[in-house]
């Protein structure tokens, strides 16, 4: 995991890229936030798909990382709903889940996911993927 400072993506809060992490596990949300903040991103958290959808509707995010299995609204439902929101068609969405089955991945892709990560994520590789997707 590289030692990166806020300057990595511009330095100031004003031009920092915003990422939303949606997961019903608070420890996973903490790890995603910790990893991305350390890499210089601003991170918001949502406890499930419903909470996530509310936050996305209320603000602009440069990238969304979501779990699949969550109460209320699951990851696939969240992606489908986000893709219907104005201006959210091209926002990159990564699924971070324990699922590794091909049919689940296929469902995610069809719903509009940009990528898939099987938990646990590798911090360096997550940062590399985020850097690639958020420019």
């Amino acid at each position: 995991m590289g030692r990166q400072r806020n300057s990595h993506n511009g330095g100031t809060t004003a031009n920092m890229k915003r990422i939303l992490t949606v997961d019903d596990s608070s420890s996973v949300r903490q790890m995603v936030s910790f990893t991305l903040r350390k890499a210089g991103y601003e991170v918001a958290e949502a406890v499930d798909g419903k909470d996530g959808l509310g936050k996305i509707s209320g603000g602009k995010f440069d990238l969304i990382i979501t779990d699949l299995n969550m109460p209320n609204v699951d990851g696939i439902q969240l992606i489908s709903a986000v893709r219907k929101l104005p201006g959210c068609n091209f926002v990159p969405i990564l699924m971070l889940t324990t699922e590794s089955q091909a049919e689940k991945k296929d469902a995610g892709r069809k719903a509009g996911a940009t990528g898939w990560i099987v938990k646990p994520f590798n911090a360096d590789q997550l940062i590399a993927a985020v850097q690639k997707l958020v420019k």
């Binding site: 940009t114 898939w116 938990k119 590798n122 590789q125």
Partner: protein, 591 residues
């Protein structure tokens, strides 16, 4: 041999243990729920502690980075070559002085020899002066005997008397100076005899001292210069350990989900066993399903237990590694820089002392050897006078012979005196040549002395001083780095203490997680007890379920490949999945 119970018997048996099994499974389920909440709570605390720990680690690394960058300063890097140059200059400085001292001792010995030759010349000249005085007396007697005819020789008698007086005075003066010079030379010889062993000792000490000091300084500076590399490695190692904790904390979430799935399955099994709304026959049919379901949950439980052990152990290992890395190489940078600065400073002080001692010695030598040039001046003047005396003697002899020859027989004695003067003039001439030779040798000696004294000149000292100045410049940078490191050391200590406190807190969370694992073992034991009881009640139970149906019933909630593999192992005897010992994290698959 005990025969298998029929359906009616099975119902009777299960009625007895069913309620107990349901109660036990419900209790296990409740404990799993409580465990899930407790573990999640502990993990949240651990994640916060971990974030705070990484923040303290960052503070330690930032401080170390500033110290490392001060060490990376070009001037500090060049300190080692400068110290080496100074070492070489100091060795040459002392070496030249030892060699020169040997040379001066040789010069002094030659001078003693020349002073002896001068004394021989002086003795000859003194003898001639005595003869001349005697000839003056004889001439006066002849002048008196010849009367008016001898008046012309009165001048000769006076000249001879003056010559004897002048030469005697001259020789006395030279003898006095030669004696003074001999005393001075003796003093110089004593100084040199005392100083040479001291200088030789000093050289030996400097050589060995420099050798070991340079070795220490060399290895210390080399070590200092490897610090940036070590630091980068520490940063990478810490980053790797942090990534290890990040992955392990996520692994907790996977096991949390798996426990929830076991919990749900236990609820389903309890419900089937309690058999509300089912006929007795229906309950009997549920027994094998419950048994198979419990078999799967026990397998899942064992795998979960091992996985939990792995990630708890990984968290402990990574935290401990962060503590070790942060407390060793990184924190050790400040004292190491200070130590190097002290090494080099003491080395420089020793050389400064040597230079000042040497200056006093040089002054003493220069003063002592400076007497040679004064003696040279005296000998030169004496030689000039000696030459003029020879010419005067020759002229006197020539005139006297002419006058004596003119007077004939009555001046025979004067003629003899004149011839004697001529002979003296020849001897004087030889002595003059001898003096000139000695003079030439003294000139050579003076030149030689000047050459050897070069080692004690200001120019020679200057070379050492320049090297000292240059080293002092390099040392100033190292000193600044050391002062900076010392200034940062307190902050570093505070940051490290904070970090240690977080590690201790994380350790206590680890203990609580271990306690949760102990509780999980008890739940697992309870499930195994129910499982065994079902087998005891109906030994045929494991043959009486439909594996495909059981798989459908229990796999629906599974979200991980591990859970599915465990199910296959439990139902079909396939090899169980290998429990992950470490979690490095998975890569991102972009669509």
């Amino acid at each position: 041999m005990k025969s298998a119970p029929n359906a009616a018997q099975r119902v009777v048996m299960i009625t007895g243990t069913r309620a107990e099994a349901v109660e036990k499974l419900e209790k296990a389920r409740g404990e799993l729920q409580a465990l899930g909440r407790a573990t999640e709570g502990e993990m949240v605390v651990l994640a916060r502690t971990f974030e705070a720990l990484t923040s303290s680690t960052d503070a330690v690394l930032d401080l170390a980075a500033t110290i490392v960058s001060s060490v990376e300063n070009e001037a500090v890097c060049s300190a080692l070559p400068k110290v080496r140059t100074l070492g070489a200059a100091a060795k040459r400085f002392v070496g030249e002085k030892v060699q020169a001292t040997h040379g001066i001792l040789e010069t002094v010995t030659q001078e003693v020899h020349l002073l002896y030759e001068l004394s021989v010349v002086s003795r000859s000249q003194r003898a001639i002066a005595l003869q001349t005085r005697a000839l003056s007396v004889l001439t006066n007697m002849e002048v008196a005997r010849l009367g008016d005819a001898g008046t012309g020789f009165r001048y000769l008698a006076q000249e001879l008397a003056d010559f004897a007086t002048s030469v005697t005075k001259d020789i006395q003066e030279l003898a006095d100076h030669t004696e003074a010079r001999r005393a001075a030379i003796e003093e110089t010889r004593q100084v040199l005899s005392t100083e040479l062993p001291h200088l030789q000792d000093e050289l030996a000490r400097i050589e060995s001292g420099l050798e070991s000091a340079l070795t220490v300084v060399d290895s210390s500076l080399t070590q200092l210069l490897t610090m940036p590399v070590q630091f980068k490695k520490s940063v990478q190692d810490i980053a790797q350990q942090i990534a290890g904790v990040v992955a392990a904390v996520q692994a907790h979430d996977i096991t949390r989900q798996q426990i929830e799935h076991v919990e749900g399955a236990l609820a389903a099994i309890s419900s089937r066993l309690s058999g509300e709304g089912n006929s007795q026959e229906g309950i009997a049919q549920e027994l094998p399903r419950a048994y198979a379901g419990l078999t799967i949950q026990i397998h899942q439980g064992r795998t979960i237990r091992q996985t939990v052990s792995s990630w708890v152990s990984q968290i402990r290992t990574c935290m401990d590694a962060i503590r070790r890395i942060s407390a060793s190489e990184v924190v050790g940078i400040a004292p190491a820089v200070l130590e190097q600065e002290q090494h080099i400073s003491s080395h420089l002080s020793r050389i400064e002392l040597l230079e000042s001692e040497s200056r006093a010695y040089s002054e003493k030598l220069q003063q002592s050897l400076g007497g040679l040039s004064h003696l040279m001046q005296l000998v030169t003047e004496h030689l000039q006078r000696t030459k003029s005396v020879r010419e005067r003697l020759q002229l006197l002899a020539f005139n006297s012979i002419i006058e004596a020859s003119r007077l004939g027989v009555q001046a025979a004695a004067v003629l003899a005196i004149a011839k004697r003067i001529e002979a003296i003039s020849t001897s004087w001439s030889q002595i003059t040549d001898q003096s000139a030779c000695t003079m030439q040798e003294m000139l050579k000696l003076a030149e030689q002395t000047n050459q050897v004294m070069e080692a004690f000149s200001e120019r020679s000292n200057q070379r050492l001083r320049e090297a000292q100045l240059e080293t002092r410049g390099g040392l100033d940078s190292l000193r600044s780095a050391a002062a900076f490191a010392a200034g940062q050391a307190e902050k570093m200590k505070l940051a490290t203490e904070k970090m240690q406190a977080k590690i201790v807190k994380a350790g206590s969370t680890g203990d609580l997680l271990d306690a949760c694992s102990g509780r999980f073992d008890l739940v697992l034991a309870e499930m195994e007890a129910v499982h065994r009881q079902l087998e005891i009640d109906d030994p045929q139970v494991k043959q009486r379920y439909d594996a495909a149906e059981i798989e459908r019933l229990f796999s629906a909630s599974y979200t991980t490949a591990t859970e599915r593999e465990v199910l296959q192992a439990a139902l079909h005897g396939t090899p169980p999945p290998v429990v992950q010992q470490s979690f490095e994290g998975n890569s991102v698959e972009l669509f």
